[in-house]
């Protein structure tokens, strides 16, 4: 077996252990070490991706070469690899983009902790992506939760701690349910390795035994993960968590953590339960309904919001609604579009958070709209980035959002009774997005009146002053453009990945 | 190549436009100073010479064009299948003739009159422009061409109404515009239908309605025709769209109102003639509800007009109301769809043109000399300006229709026609109404004469008022004379029209 096949395992371990390492390093070193680790992991994953694409079939990597049912497996397919690469890239950019804020918002002693958390988070994400074992998944979900909570509370003020507490409580509820679901599944199938469970579930499905426990298990797991990824009715914790934590945390949380859970859910659907079974279970209808409700209500909340950070946070709720709606459609195309939307939302939302922070920075650190007046002129790069991000969210052609919108719509068309709701919801939420995002864009390009200019001396920031951050922003912009313009190769990759996913 | 018949159209139009441009240019740099009568004497002299020459030339050309046999000119295509097309036919000839006479008379009259109105260049500019347009309107050979000049006439005659620029003048002009446009677009509505249902939009005596195309949609067709009648009737002051007349005439300068009520109102009549007798054809309408409604409207107008005139104290307004009623005589005649009545109608068109312009000119002279506008102020006017009042008297006798004055002839024909037409109750109702309104006419016109000549003993005469206004008296006299002459020898004209009537029915 090829050496490259070890990479996924190595990645997880590497980031897991680089945590302690970066704790002993000095702050500055830790920063670069962390960046290096993420980059390295990213490269490795690219190698893995290349490998899988070349072979064209997934491979199973048995930890310690124990075979099932005792052993613990990693299963690598194209989809996993793509996700891993993408997560690494986003993570890296988020980290780079957030440096300045981190250094001023987090006191010196905590800096290293931050990197530990990030490393943990990354490893847990990778594990969630790669693992083939349900219980391992659960464990890493918990690790994920803990590290995410750390990321939130690392910025020491009342709000963040409360936010962290809320986040913990909600996600513990979620993981409790997830665990229960797993236990049920285990108790009726007797397996923990996903592939085996699928076999068993298929038999059950054929024989029609244990339908109720099966449904309950699926429901529990879905709801648990939905809670953790802030699907509409359970999104109470989200705005605070994203709105007050330091910017890179917010970016990472919104673009990666929730996506990790969603990916796990996708895995459960495809690999654990089997898509055939899911299709005609009622769970996806629930997800669909809540997804659509999330799309609309998230946007409405965002419109009512007066702080730009919280507004973006609420818009995440809406976007996650999109993703669940895609699942809820219960068609291959729907899932595909959801996966694509995971990517493009990750890229866009991180971009938005970063640029928003720069905009607030040049507006006297106030996040309220009124103070943002004219911020686009004070920091050109951020202004541009924010505009692009907003347009992508609105689904403007040539940007990622447009493609995913098209995909969703196409997935919906022809569906018996979910078509019209989906299309209308898409249209309405587009309008709502327009309202709040472009309102902001116009606002940041409205020049201040001269007397205001005199009274509050906002600083100007040129790209030269924040090279790293500007670079990160531009990378995200480029990422969006790529997703928008050259979506075809990515889509084909994802399709292949999905096909070999189960 | 007889494009030359367009000369009487182009010549006045162009010279009118030139005048307008010059007036505009003159205002461009004259800031602040009184722009109203900025003409020095020699300038005015030049202007008068110019206008006079143009008028006469045009008149000669027009009459030549009209009476030198059948001409037709087909210009470029406005839209495919719809050329701008001129053809001089019997009706056109007649209209051109009396238009020319009235116009020349009024034109010369206004040389003097317009002194105290000011802005002469603009006035004469539009005056000539309208003249050209009118001639074109009479020569128009198909419906669209006619419509084209019809609208142009409205637009170019509007400034005449609001000439003195006062607030109510402008309001009146806008009202005039509104009503005319209303009418015009109602007409256009009908034209669209006719375009669908007629073989051609070229005027053909007896109508060119294609039965095959119409069959199945008679209902809509009738509605369309009714719309056109009401629409073009608006210009002719037919109820319900008559209200602009009494507003627009008094505020306009007297020559303008003379021209309006003598000629422009008649263009409405012309349009109706064209539509009913040359496009739709009488067979299609005879006996339909359209005819009934039309007759009712006209009779209503006839009666109401005279009634209102009777109650109207302001002289020019009174005349305006009388126009309303008189023109509806014509329309009533047309609505009977019967040769005799048709003859009567067209005769009355001509006569009324002369008479009414004469009356308005009288009113103008009175205003010019004394500034009096109300009827009750006119006591003893006859002592001061006898010849004027004599002309007035003859004219009004004509309007009332007392033999041997002209009006009598036309009304006779109308009554004849009504009695011969097969229109049920209207056979008797019509003449009755005509008679009644004739009495009313006497009632509102003659008091002026009576008070004018017999002011009572205690009236001290200031004579010599008529010196220096011969320029105005002559045209007036001419018109008055015409009314008498035509009254004495109506037959050539009558027979001419009767033949025409036979061709179209």
């Amino acid at each position: 077996m090829e050496f490259v096949q070890n990479f996924p395992f190595i990645c997880i371990i590497l980031s897991l252990f680089s945590g302690p390492l970066s704790s002993v390093l000095s702050g500055k070193k830790a920063k670069w070490w962390n960046a290096f680790v993420i980059t390295a992991i990213g490269l490795m994953n690219i190698a893995v991706l290349a490998f899988v694409v070349s072979t064209g079939e997934p491979y199973v990597y048995r930890m310690g070469h124990f075979s099932a049912p005792w052993g613990n497996e990693i299963r690598v397919g194209i989809l996993e690899a793509v996700m891993a690469v993408f997560f690494c890239v986003t993570m890296l950019l988020c980290m780079l983009g957030g440096i300045a804020e981190r250094e001023e918002e987090i006191e010196e002693s905590k800096q290293n902790l931050y990197y530990i958390m990030v490393n943990l988070l990354l490893s847990s994400l990778l594990a969630l992506i790669y693992t083939n074992d349900l219980f391992t998944a659960y464990v890493f979900v918990e690790i994920n939760t803990i590290s995410a909570c750390g990321l939130i509370m690392i910025r020491q003020n009342g709000r963040t701690i409360v936010a962290a507490t809320r986040y913990m409580i909600m996600s513990l509820l979620g993981s409790g349910m997830l665990l229960l679901g797993i236990c049920f599944l285990y108790s009726i199938t007797g397996h923990l390795l996903m592939s085996n469970i699928q076999q068993a579930v298929w038999n059950l499905h054929e024989t029609g035994m244990y339908q109720v426990p099966l449904l309950v298990a699926v429901g529990l797991m879905s709801v648990g993960l939905a809670v953790k990824s802030a699907l509409f009715p359970f999104h109470g914790w989200l705005p605070d968590a994203y709105g007050y934590s330091t910017v890179s945390s917010a970016a990472i949380l919104s673009s990666l953590v929730s996506k990790g859970y969603i990916f796990l859910l996708l895995k459960i659907f495809y690999r654990v339960i089997g898509f055939e079974v899911i299709k005609d279970s009622k769970v996806i209808h629930v997800l669909f309904v809540f997804g659509i409700a999330g799309m609309i209500i998230g946007s409405i909340d965002a419109i009512r919001e007066n702080s730009i950070r919280r507004m973006i946070a609420y818009s995440s709720v809406a976007q996650i609604g999109y993703i669940y709606m895609g699942f809820g459609l219960g068609t291959e195309l729907g899932v595909l579009s959801s996966v694509f939307h995971i990517l493009c939302h990750a890229a866009t939302k991180a971009l938005l958070f970063l640029s928003a922070s720069s905009l607030t920075e040049v507006s006297g650190d106030s996040t309220s709209f009124f103070d943002l007046t004219g911020a686009g002129y004070r920091n050109k790069a951020a202004g541009l980035a924010f505009t692009v991000g907003s347009l992508s969210m609105v689904g403007f052609p040539m940007l990622g959002g447009f493609i995913s919108k098209i995909l969703f719509a196409q997935a919906a068309v022809g569906h018996a009774y979910k078509m019209l709701p989906t299309l209308i919801a898409l249209a309405v939420s587009t309008i709502l997005n327009t309202v709040y995002f472009l309102k902001t864009v116009i606002r940041i390009y409205t020049p201040m009146r001269s007397e205001e200019k005199k009274e509050k001396q906002y600083k100007l920031v040129t790209m030269g002053q924040q090279p790293v951050k500007s670079a990160a922003l531009l990378c995200f912009v480029a990422l969006n453009l790529v997703l928008g313009l050259f979506s075809q190769p990515i889509l084909t990759l994802l399709e292949r990945g999905l096909s070999m996913f189960a | 190549m007889n494009a030359w018949i367009l000369l009487p159209v182009i010549l006045p139009a162009l010279s009118g436009i030139c005048l307008l441009c010059s007036s505009l240019r003159s205002h461009l740099h004259s800031s602040g100073v009184d722009v109203w009568n900025d003409l020095k004497e020699e300038e005015r002299g030049r202007l008068h010479r110019f206008v006079g020459i143009v008028l006469v030339l045009t008149a000669v050309l027009a009459l030549l064009a009209a009476w030198s046999g059948e001409h037709e000119v087909r210009l470029f295509e406005l839209m495919e299948g719809i050329p701008v097309y001129f053809r001089i036919d019997a009706v056109g000839k007649m209209f051109v003739t009396f238009v020319t006479i009235v116009w020349v008379a009024v034109g010369f009259y206004s040389f003097l009159y317009m002194k105290h109105e000011g802005e002469e260049r603009r006035f004469f500019g539009f005056f000539l422009l309208v003249y050209g347009v009118l001639i074109a309107l009479d020569f128009a050979g198909n419906l669209v061409t006619m419509y084209l000049f019809y609208e142009l006439m409205t637009l170019s005659s509007m400034p005449l109404v609001m000439h003195n620029g006062s607030k109510e003048a402008i309001m009146a002009a806008l009202k005039y515009l509104f009503y005319s446009m209303c009418g015009a677009y109602l007409g256009l509505f009908g034209i669209f239908f006719l375009y669908r249902c007629c073989d051609t939009l070229t005027f053909t005596a007896g109508g060119s309605l294609n039965a095959a195309l119409v069959s199945g949609r008679e209902g809509t067709m009738l509605i369309a025709v009714m719309a056109m009648l009401i629409g073009f009737g608006a210009k002719a002051g037919m109820f319900p769209l008559h209200a602009w007349l009494p507003t627009a005439h008094p505020v306009a300068p007297s020559p303008a109102s003379a021209a309006l009520s003598a000629v422009i109102v008649k263009s409405g009549v012309l349009a109706v003639v064209r539509v009913v007798y040359y496009m739709v054809g009488t067979e299609f309408l005879r006996g339909t509800w359209v005819q009934t409604v039309w007759m009712t409207l006209t009779l209503l107008t006839v009666f109401l007009g005279s009634l209102l005139a009777f109650r109207e104290p302001v002289f020019k307004k009174r005349l305006a109301y009388s126009t309303v009623s008189q023109v509806s005589y014509v329309l009533f005649g047309l609505s009977l769809l019967q040769p005799q009545a048709f003859t009567g109608a067209l005769l009355h068109t001509v006569f009324h043109a002369f008479i009414k312009s004469a009356l308005f000119l009288t009113a103008g002279i009175i205003i010019y000399q004394t500034g009096k506008t109300r009827v009750d102020e006119l006591r003893g006017i006859g002592k001061e300006m006898p010849c004027m009042l004599w002309c007035y008297t003859f004219a009004s006798l004509g309007l009332i229709g007392i033999p041997p004055m002209s009006g009598f002839v036309s009304k006779w024909y109308l009554a004849q026609g009504a009695l011969q037409a097969s229109v049920g109750a209207f056979r008797y109702l019509g003449p009755a109404v005509l008679l009644a309104s004739a009495l009313l006419t006497a009632g509102y016109l003659l008091p002026v004469t009576i008070n004018g000549f017999l002011p009572g003993k205690d009236w001290k005469v200031r004579s010599g008022e008529e010196n220096g206004i011969q320029m105005m008296l002559i045209p007036l006299a001419v018109l008055a004379a015409l009314t008498i002459l035509l009254g004495l020898f109506p037959n050539p004209l009558a027979s001419y029209i009767y033949e025409l009537a036979m061709t179209v029915m």
Binding site: G484 | E151, M181, L188
Partner: protein, 486 residues
């Protein structure tokens, strides 16, 4: 083909980067770009390339591709003919607006994007350019950056993108139910796929139509247009009388005649519904214009109703209807841009925005107001000017169609013509007849604008007369173009 689209976009973007020594230099640069582009377009229109040009593929079935057919030719022709003139006009006008660099940047970019709409081969491309158009014209509206400008631009944005969101649905359906996404005369709907879901498709068509009709300011989505009047006049004139709104009309023609197809739509409830909307708009726009006292806003409202003339032609869904719509698209462009330019000249020279302030200006700016009067006559539909021709064709089409509402439509046309007469001519009358005791000394120092403004105006007037008196060839061309409609 991509060249003519990309050239202005590219150079437009470059404008702020260029180190212009002085204003004149920039003007020269821009005018050259625009002129050259127009010439290129002209060549393109004269010898049409047959095969489509694919710029690149978004993904599987979505591609950005251009092709040039009759309809596109017409639209591109209008745009490329008017743009250089408008630019010329803008040079003089923008003197007193400031921020010229950015203005002209977006102004030039818009040119390219509008052409993009004209040339787009499939509905996706058209949608993309449509969205971009919204975005690029936004800065032009908020150009003055005054409070109301911001509000106006916001409204514009919400309306347009909101509309686009619904148009999007239509696009998706074409992608899925159509045999192809391209524009094919007579529609692309694939009967095999549509069977059974006709009503659904009709519903979608109505949604899509309403969505796109936001750009054409159809009632009740027209509120943005008058508000957008705060933009500098060249913008209001060119974009909100020609480019943007006509782009809306153009897209509607596309989806009606080239995507959904008239055989599928004619005589359905969808047609009736839309016709009702259109007729309401025709009357509504005029009556609002009558009430409006702000010069440019009045014109904007009149645009609203005139655009609905075009839509009326479109929803007639007959060859004649298309002819009428096309002719009015062309003619209204000329008439309205002319009248807007007159308004702009007045504002530029006197800074007066309201109609009651125009008293007596006719004496001081005779050329402008005579031209305005002529354009007013044209809008009223006085025969001999182009307005009449299109009105005639529309009415002809309406009476030819069997739809019961068509006749009412004709009536609406005439009513609106009447109202037009009033609201245009009251302005003219005010200008020339300010009232007997009007003190002209208050107008001292006002005169006609310079040649840069007058030249376009004169050209427009000539065009109006030309088309008014001799429209036959043009109409014949349109008839050939519309021949495919069955």
């Amino acid at each position: 083909m991509a060249v003519v689209i990309l050239l202005p976009i590219l150079f437009g973007v470059l404008i702020p980067l260029f180190p212009f020594k002085n204003r004149a230099q920039m003007m020269f640069y821009i005018e050259t770009v625009v002129l050259v582009n127009s010439l290129l377009v002209l060549c393109l229109l004269l010898n049409r390339p047959e095969q489509a040009f694919v710029l690149f593929r978004l993904n599987g079935n979505l591609s950005i591709s251009f092709q040039l057919d009759g309809l596109g030719t017409v639209f591109a022709g209008i745009v490329s003919a008017l743009w250089p003139l408008a630019t010329l006009y803008a040079f003089e006008y923008m003197k007193h607006e400031g921020h010229e660099t950015y203005f002209f940047m977006f102004y030039t970019i818009t040119y390219g994007i509008t052409l993009g709409i004209a040339f787009s081969e499939d509905i996706v491309t058209m949608y993309c350019f449509y969205e971009m158009l919204t975005l690029v014209t936004l800065p032009l509206i908020m150009h003055t950056l005054s409070r109301e400008a911001i509000l106006a631009s916001r409204t514009y944005l919400y309306y347009s993108l909101g509309g686009a969101a619904f148009a999007f649905i239509g696009m998706i359906f074409i992608l899925n139910y159509g045999a192809t996404a391209n524009f094919v005369p007579g529609g692309v709907l694939d009967p095999a796929k549509t069977a059974g879901s006709e009503n659904l498709l009709l519903l979608i068509y109505v949604l899509c139509f309403l969505g796109f009709s936001v750009k054409t300011a159809m009632w009740p989505f027209g509120a943005w247009l008058p508000k957008a009047g705060v933009a500098p006049t060249p913008v209001t004139a060119l974009l909100h009388a020609v480019a943007v709104v006509k782009a809306g009309a153009f897209t509607l023609m596309r989806i009606t005649y080239y995507s959904f197809g008239t055989e599928f739509l004619r005589g359905t409830w969808a047609q009736t519904v839309l016709m009702v909307f259109v007729i309401i708009t025709i009357v509504y726009g005029c009556s609002r214009a009558l009430k409006e006292t702000h010069f440019k806003r009045r014109l904007a409202y009149s645009t609203m109703s005139n655009l609905s003339y075009i839509l009326f032609g479109v929803v007639l869904m007959s060859p004649l209807g298309l002819v009428g719509a096309l002719s009015h698209m062309v003619f209204h462009a000329v008439m309205k841009i002319c009248s807007f330019f007159c308004a702009g000249a007045v504002i530029y020279k006197t800074g007066r925005n309201y109609i009651h302030e125009l008293n007596g200006l006719g004496r001081k700016m005779p050329r402008v107001f005579v031209i305005f009067a002529i354009s007013g006559f044209a809008l009223m539909g006085v025969p001999g000017l182009c307005g009449f021709v299109s009105k005639w064709n529309l009415a002809k089409a309406a009476l030819a169609s069997t739809h019961p509402l068509a006749v009412i439509g004709v009536a609406a046309l005439l009513i609106s013509a009447l109202l037009t007469a009033i609201y245009m001519l009251t302005i003219v009358v005010r200008a020339f007849f300010p009232g007997r005791d009007f003190d002209y000394s208050s107008l001292d120092g006002i005169e006609d604008p310079g040649w840069m403004m007058l030249l376009p105006l004169v050209l427009f007037v000539i065009t109006m007369f030309l088309f008014g008196l001799h429209s036959a060839p043009l109409i014949r061309a349109f008839t050939q173009l519309a021949a495919f409609v069955k």
